[in-house]
């Protein structure tokens, strides 16, 4: 059974970004720009999420001739569930902060 993912701040940011447009296959560089994660942080996270069955990946043909195919990613159903769970916890955390 895959181990429970380590929900670091970077992982939460990545999951939230996937959640923004959950049906769309996303490219690595776009994810890096949106999350602010550098490639050296982003790819190990993507690999880990994929190993844990939270992320699916496939190759996508280039839109223009002369360019290489791109690796694209989106959350699996389990990944989506985790992302929603994280989002809910973040909202509850915000509320707690507001009450305090």
């Amino acid at each position: 059974m895959p181990r429970k993912p380590n929900i670091s701040r970077q992982t939460r940011a990545l999951l939230a970004t996937f959640l923004d447009r959950s049906q769309i296959w996303r490219h690595g560089y776009d994810l890096s720009k949106e999350t602010g994660l550098r490639s050296g942080t982003l790819y190990p996270l993507l690999m880990r999420l994929s190993e844990q069955g939270l992320l699916e990946a496939r190759w996508e043909e280039a839109a223009r001739p002369g360019l290489p195919p791109r690796h694209v990613y989106r959350l699996t159903a389990r990944g989506l569930a985790l992302a929603h769970e994280q989002e809910r916890e973040a909202v509850l955390g915000d509320r707690a902060g507001a009450i305090a």
Partner: protein, 565 residues
Amino acid sequence: MNAAPSRWRRLAGLLVQHASWVWPGAGPWAEAMRHELDYIEDDGAALRWAMGGLLASYRTRLVDLLCLSTPAAFRYVGVGSVLVLAIGSALMGQASGQPLRPVFDETVCNLPGVSPDIAPRLHCGTIRVPRNYDDPAEGQFKLAVVVVKSAQQPALPDPVVYISGGPGSPLTIYADQQARTLYAAGRDVILVDQRGTGRSEPKLCPDLDRAFLDAAVAVATDPSGDPLAKRRAVYAACRAEALAHGFDLKDFGTRVTVADFEWVRRALGIDRWNVYGISYGTTVAMTLVALHPDTVRAAVLDSLYPPDPRPMFSANVADALAAFFRYCSGDQACAAGYPDLAATYRETLSGLAGAPLVVTVPPEVHVPDDRVSLTSTLFEVLVGQLIYYPSAYPSLPRLIVSVHDRDTRGLGKVLASAAMAAEANRSTYIAVECRDRPHYRDPLSPGASLLDRLQLYGFCNDWSKIGPAPLVPIRTAVPTLVLAGEFDPVTRPSQSRHVAATIGPKARWVEFPRMGHNVSTPRASNGRAFSPCGAKIAADFIDNPAQSLDTSCADRGALIRFLPK
């Protein structure tokens, strides 16, 4: 035809290739990183991308390295050292010789007053722009940029870039209010502190902020002195300080600011955006539309600030006040409480000219003994300020009558709020206006109104050479909405209507009765528009610039509820 890859691009390719060698378990992931390089337009970003991959590969292999035989470890360390040296020299070369590219460097948001519900929608960062687009060797300025993600996702294409006024007004610190506005429903909003404003570089005269306020207060407290001489000394000191810091005063002006916005657009990867200017921001917006029409889907110009030639400020204020007094005489409550307000105002000015009123002001104004001498000219300046804002209209007649009757109760607070309201960066204001406006090179006649003497007339020859002029997008194909306030003292409705006619058939002009200088834009205090109707019309227009607009709510806006005597 594809251009040959630059040496930086080639180096990035080598680094990623090396990363996949060091990181054999990465398989398709390392391949994916390598392929992404071809989709990164900017060489610097490609190099950073490759270095990230390289560092990750070495990090992942660190444990393995500890278990390797000594020769193998030396081999890894040796190759790694060579690469680090290559990268170091490459980056140094980039810093000294590579042209700057438009890149958004995202950072942590550190903005005041952002509520938890808005914070997740804000993406803050900086974009470095050339100080001089014709000479990159002059260096760079870092601009503060905030992308406010739409609450509705996925967002509609074509975000809105909001362009603040002044010149010199900060913007990004109001990200929370901007995130709550309706004018960009469903769209992301781009906020930029223009060069020299807010959190952007440069700070032209950081040590003279206080001196600018003191010079203004000196005018108020010493009516017998020569305010021009005092101000001239402060401006000269600011200019000397800016030059001492190595700034070139030709690196300012609307045309440079427009180049900055174009640079920001490219850095954010935006093909087309909607431009939304307020006050001086309309000067930037119009010039942007004129120079880069293909990048603009629609333009909103709220409370136009037209290029020269334009009337003297005192003439516009007098015209705005005359309109306000006419409105008062036609309003039952105002006419009953304040009959012939125009005459009362004239009498008040002549009364103050003969005998100024001494007014006690709060300590935060920092004047000796907390007292200000209210002269007729200072009162003109104060009323000229109040006519900007509809929130001041209900109490304006009562204020005039109080001063007429030499009753100073509550006046100190009004003066203090007017003095403290000037948050625009004064040195940036001078730097931009002196490049833009030829008429500030003309000397004033000796008997000119203080309202005009407080402008930059006669100052700019000593500041910088005139720069390229701001533009009006004549006969543009870009749909343009022009919003005008009935009592706007900066640009009278007839003047903005004339500019709209000059722009051509794609421009629509809407006047808002009982509004001033700011119709649709959010207030700093609560984020609400001065005119909800103006905000709705702007939102409808951005939503579909081609549709015919229902502007009937403009005439149904709330009446002024004048305070009784």
